[in-house]
Symmetry: none
Subunit: 130 residues, 4 copies
Amino acid sequence: MLSIDKTSKKPIYEQIIESVEREIASGILKENDKLPSIRDLSLTLSINPNTIQKAFIELDRRGIIISYPGRGCFVASDATDRLRLAQSDRLRELSELALELYELGISKEDMLNAVSSACSDKRQDRKENK
Amino acid sequence: MLSIDKTSKKPIYEQIIESVEREIASGILKENDKLPSIRDLSLTLSINPNTIQKAFIELDRRGIIISYPGRGCFVASDATDRLRLAQSDRLRELSELALELYELGISKEDMLNAVSSACSDKRQDRKENK
Amino acid sequence: MLSIDKTSKKPIYEQIIESVEREIASGILKENDKLPSIRDLSLTLSINPNTIQKAFIELDRRGIIISYPGRGCFVASDATDRLRLAQSDRLRELSELALELYELGISKEDMLNAVSSACSDKRQDRKENK
Amino acid sequence: MLSIDKTSKKPIYEQIIESVEREIASGILKENDKLPSIRDLSLTLSINPNTIQKAFIELDRRGIIISYPGRGCFVASDATDRLRLAQSDRLRELSELALELYELGISKEDMLNAVSSACSDKRQDRKENK
DNA sequence: GTGGTCTAGACCACT
DNA sequence: GTGGTCTAGACCACG
């Protein structure tokens, strides 16, 4: 559970956040499900507990999970709704990157192709370098 | 010359790099043109010379500009070719972001629209947040 | 660890780069090994942290080491391969110097002798004067 | 006369020094020959007079040329002898570079080949980068 | 004047 | 603790 790539330049806590959100979006994690304990994850993934907690705190802040001290963390009952609402923000990221590339002289067609093929490839090889 | 946003999360030196590359791509800076001196830019932009130089060193390393101690920095005579070659790398960034968003449940159509409209908007307001 | 000569004309950061590469080539540093922290080296060698980092950034760029913010710098898992690939570039340096000397009237034999004896002398006294 | 490559990273004044020494070594310039005036060279090569003077001062210091204020610069009557004497110093450069490369894992054979072929190639393309 | 190197020290994000 | 960015200011070599 939770795929973390320690060789990636992407911060580990961000990878955890994205991993949890991805599992919720894909239905692997359902609303009200209990998440593994920080201690468990720390041992399983060989990751500093502080790092995991940092990710969980952020997920809690976003309302994706809810942490009950002493009981654990649970997927919020409206997690999927909140994820949907957050999608517009993520889309803006894409727009901004596209604009930046456009100003560098990359054609709209090339970008549309890149996006299109990225969605088609159902590959697992998630190499997220910085 | 060179638009820098100090409040952006993007490092200043990266903004300088992109800014120079953008000006070359758009023809404002032509091949073999002399760039403003590091000290000049430092004063104009109110940025530490070291930060400017960090950007110029990276541009030199990429072969976009060439710096001659005692003479100044110049746009490389094959800068536009090199920029073109580098575009595939930048496109890969877009693909990776698209894949990430796709796995979060964002539809291919929404992304294509976002990219498409980003390219159409010929707005000048370059807000590069994170 | 890492022999630095502050009186040398060769920039300190270059000496650090070569020193690290030498230790990897000779097996003192192995792939995936953790390098001393920038702050540690700074204290040990009495060199400004910025100078150490400048060297590490270049090594990271060459793919010889990988730096993870918050975790440290590590020898890349394919560092020896990359070093091997980079050797042809270094050999070109030798060729260029040889050609320059040849045009100055130095005989091929003298040069071959110089190179040959340099490789035989297994002296440790590394005086790198420009 | 005097081949200067302004696109080279090698300092211009060094290129001038080497160029003069090369022409003396090859017999193009003979002992007691008069060198072009600094002003002439400055115009011909489009180089700052200070730069040329700096090179001539160094050549004078080495005893390769002698400058008579008001009359010009002349190849010293013992220039070839002095160049021969200086060769051992240049050979030491080669030894040091060879040692450095050897410690990086480059084999003696590869280096001997590189030197050997450099001397055989009577190519004119002198690309001296950095 | 130019760029290149180095030091000193601050602040940030990440683990 | 770690590395990454930035500022301030010094000194050097080059033109």
